[in-house]
């Protein structure tokens, strides 16, 4: 243990500029993500965000490689090879440096931001994410340990990446030829295992095998044997997948109407055009009606796949779907109250086939029913904001027109590996919480509903979201508060809706 600390102390001294820089960057993150001033969209903050982004992506990688190459195993002239260094002690010292400095400072900053943003219950997750991060970094350590300099590391990384891509393409091609990819995949995990558990097992496997490879390589310096261990790693990784390719199981019972909701697909309307080299692409919204008893404001719908089948022919093709999970828009259909949802695109060729013809359309849809809980009310003015469960939101811009009020937020949302909900790759989730908004008159209590269109987020990040309020008449914004609701999912179901012999416009 004393050797581990001895080596770690030396690395901390050698790379003090790096951890001091990382600490400074962590401090800047506290300002950028944990204060309203930092979240504002001004020039100073934009520059700071850029610098922090550069440090996070470039400096971390450079330091990681340099720290390992300080005692490179691939250099026969390295002074330390003939010294009484414990090789395992050396490896532990490097891993400690990674956990404490490279990942630890990052996790510490994220945790403090969570506390500053009223999310103390989540502080453990940035630290747990270190384990997931190590599953990646152990392989970076392996590559770095066998090279003597950063350019050599980059070259080897490029070669390894190239070999991987070529091998993946070849294996996929061969597996496809052997009909291995069609129905039953040979993964060992149950087909209904949730994605986060699969991710956890995969990361655990890659971490365990990465550590094994490192121990073997550090102990023996036999590079070929260490590389050979990659083979069982890959095989294990393939086997640690669900035994069916389809993790989502559709309910094919309903056809034109969704049970309970009595949701009926009644037509499509042209929602616009996009032009590219191949010509004019048409986008379409799906029009549906729903039982009057259903509160459509509580529905979120996403079209996950769509197909157009021309009866009497063999032409049956999937068509590209658009958008993500969103609230239905009010519209009318043949004079009746109806709702629209973004559905699909038709390419110029597809349109030529289906134009003026009776075609069967089928949409696979994910329908969620939700409930709202009011979180906070804030005055509608620039730099006004709120924090919720680790996230921070601040109003950066307010645009009032005659018939619409747009409130633009800049928001920081925290999402961490191993945290419930972090596997939701749906672009409509702001972090792990979806928010809704409404304007409430401070004097009369009158509520004006707002459509939100949240921005895109994956990992912890900042993003802009807009809250659009359609207005019947111009209002005095100062009379209103913005109410923020947390929208949670009550139920979620996948359904298929078909519309037969429909002639699209």
């Amino acid at each position: 243990m004393s050797q581990v600390l001895h080596i770690l102390r030396k690395d901390l001294l050698r790379y003090r500029w790096a951890w001091i820089t990382l600490l400074a960057v962590g401090g800047v993150k506290l300002y950028l993500l944990g204060t309203y001033a930092g979240l504002m969209d001004d020039e100073f903050n934009t520059i700071l965000r850029f610098l922090v982004g550069v440090v996070d992506t470039v400096l971390l990688g450079v330091i990681a490689v340099m720290v390992v190459q300080e005692e490179s195993l691939g250099d026969p002239d390295a002074y330390w090879l003939s010294r009484p260094f414990s090789r395992i002690g050396l490896l532990v010292a490097k891993l400690l440096f990674f956990c404490l400095i490279i990942l630890g400072i990052h996790a510490l900053a994220e945790s403090i931001v969570l506390i500053m943003n009223d999310g103390p219950r989540r502080v453990i997750f940035p630290f747990l994410a270190i384990i997931g991060g190590l599953a990646f970094w152990v392989w970076v350590i392996f590559l770095a340990a066998q090279t003597r300099s950063f350019p050599r590391f980059l070259l080897r990384l490029f070669i390894v990446g190239l070999v991987f891509v070529l091998a993946s393409i070849s294996l996929t091609y061969l597996a496809d030829k052997a009909d291995l990819l069609d129905d039953d995949w040979f993964g060992l995990l149950p087909h209904d295992m949730d994605a986060s558990t699969v991710g956890l097992l995969q990361k655990g496997w890659w971490l365990a095998m990465g550590l094994t490879v490192l121990v073997v390589y550090y102990q023996t310096r036999r590079l070929r044997i260490a590389w050979l261990l990659l083979l069982p790693t890959l095989i294990g990784s393939i086997l640690l997948t669900p035994n069916s390719d389809y993790q989502i199981h559709y309910d094919y019972e309903s056809e034109s109407a969704l049970r309970d909701l009595d949701l009926k697909l009644v037509g499509f309307e042209n929602a616009g055009y996009t032009v590219d080299d191949s010509g004019e692409w048409r986008s379409y919204s799906a029009i549906f009606t729903v039982d009057d008893a259903v509160n459509v404001d509580k529905l979120l719908i996403r079209v996950s796949s769509a197909s157009a089948y021309k009866a009497g022919t063999v032409e049956d093709g999937y068509i590209e779907v658009m958008g993500g999970l969103s609230q239905p828009r009010k519209t009318t259909y043949k004079g009746q109250k109806a709702y629209a949802i973004d559905a699909f695109y038709l390419s110029p060729d597809q349109y030529a086939v289906v134009k003026d013809k009776a075609v069967d359309y089928t949409l696979q849809m994910n329908v969620q029913t939700t409930q709202d809980t009011e979180l906070v009310r804030i005055p509608i003015r620039k730099s006004s904001g709120f924090v919720h469960d680790g996230s921070r939101h601040v109003i950066t811009d307010i645009n009032s027109h005659q018939d619409e009020l747009t409130i633009r937020f800049h928001t920081y949302s925290a999402t961490f590996l191993f945290e419930d909900g972090s596997d939701m790759f749906d672009v409509d989730y702001v972090g792990i919480t979806r928010l809704n908004y409404a304007l409430i008159n401070r004097n009369t209590g009158k509520i004006i509903g707002a459509n939100s269109y949240p921005g895109f987020t994956g990992f912890s990040s900042t993003t802009s979201i807009g809250v659009r309020v359609p207005l019947a008449r111009e209002i005095s914004v100062s009379d209103y508060d913005l109410a923020v609701y947390k929208q949670s999912t009550d139920s979620s179901q996948f359904e298929r809706l078909s519309l037969y012999d429909y002639v699209i416009e």
């Binding site: 002074y79 003939s82 414990s86 310096r221």
Partner: protein, 293 residues
Amino acid sequence: MSVVTPAIATRGLTKVFGSVRALDGLDLEVPPGEVLALLGANGSGKSTTFRLLLNIYHPTSGVSALLGCPSRKLNTDCLQHVGYISEGQRLPLWMTVAQYIDYCAGFYPQWDDGMVGQLVKAFGLPMDGKLKHLSRGQRMKAAVTSVLPAHPKLLLLDEPFSGLDVETRAQLSYLLRNLAKEDGLATVITTHDVEEVEPVASRILILDKGRKRIDEQLAAYLARHRYVDLHELAYEALPEAARGKIHRKASLTEPELIFTDQYSPEFESDMADVTFRPMTLRQILTAHAISLL
């Protein structure tokens, strides 16, 4: 009766790089207290031998052991008693001399701070100077200062005299001789500076293209070599039996170098009219056309 563990033992040690046999079946045993001069031209296998002994390279075949520990299983306990200094060794150049010595000291439980002080004083090392700012010779001094205070039982020195000034060479030679004599330190030195190694070494081993060409106690090796100047001797006048034991060699400094590698007092008494003179190691190697470059 106790059995003395050799500081180095190899059997059939071989290393092949592609089509090149860098070391070819080396059998070697170095007892404690011996100073072995490992000589040979560049590429003869000297550095490869060191790297195989230290488990930096893995042998193609054969085995080796340091202080009784098999090279392939060298652990920290064994390496605490082995010192290795190489001219081409990559040191942590960002460190100051003091930092480097302190860092190395942390790996040796029997570190001798007193010896550090003596060496630093004798070598005139700038403790606050960074290694990257030191000359080659000063780096070598720093490397020596980072090894000897650990009181190793075996010292492997690859070109230790390179870049050192005359005074420091003499100091280092004296130090090595004393450590061998008083502490029983076994030392293997590779060098091109045979003048420096001659007074220190007790044994000479010459490698040629990975194979052992000469392996002999240095005193005996020097003793059986003698030379005569041509003007003192008419080669053709020698008895035929003696001629077979005498070699003629073209020389840059003499019209012709005539020497024998089978000298003995009896041999000299057979040729009473001829005076044989001792040869230095450099002269002997030159006479045998053994290049160290």
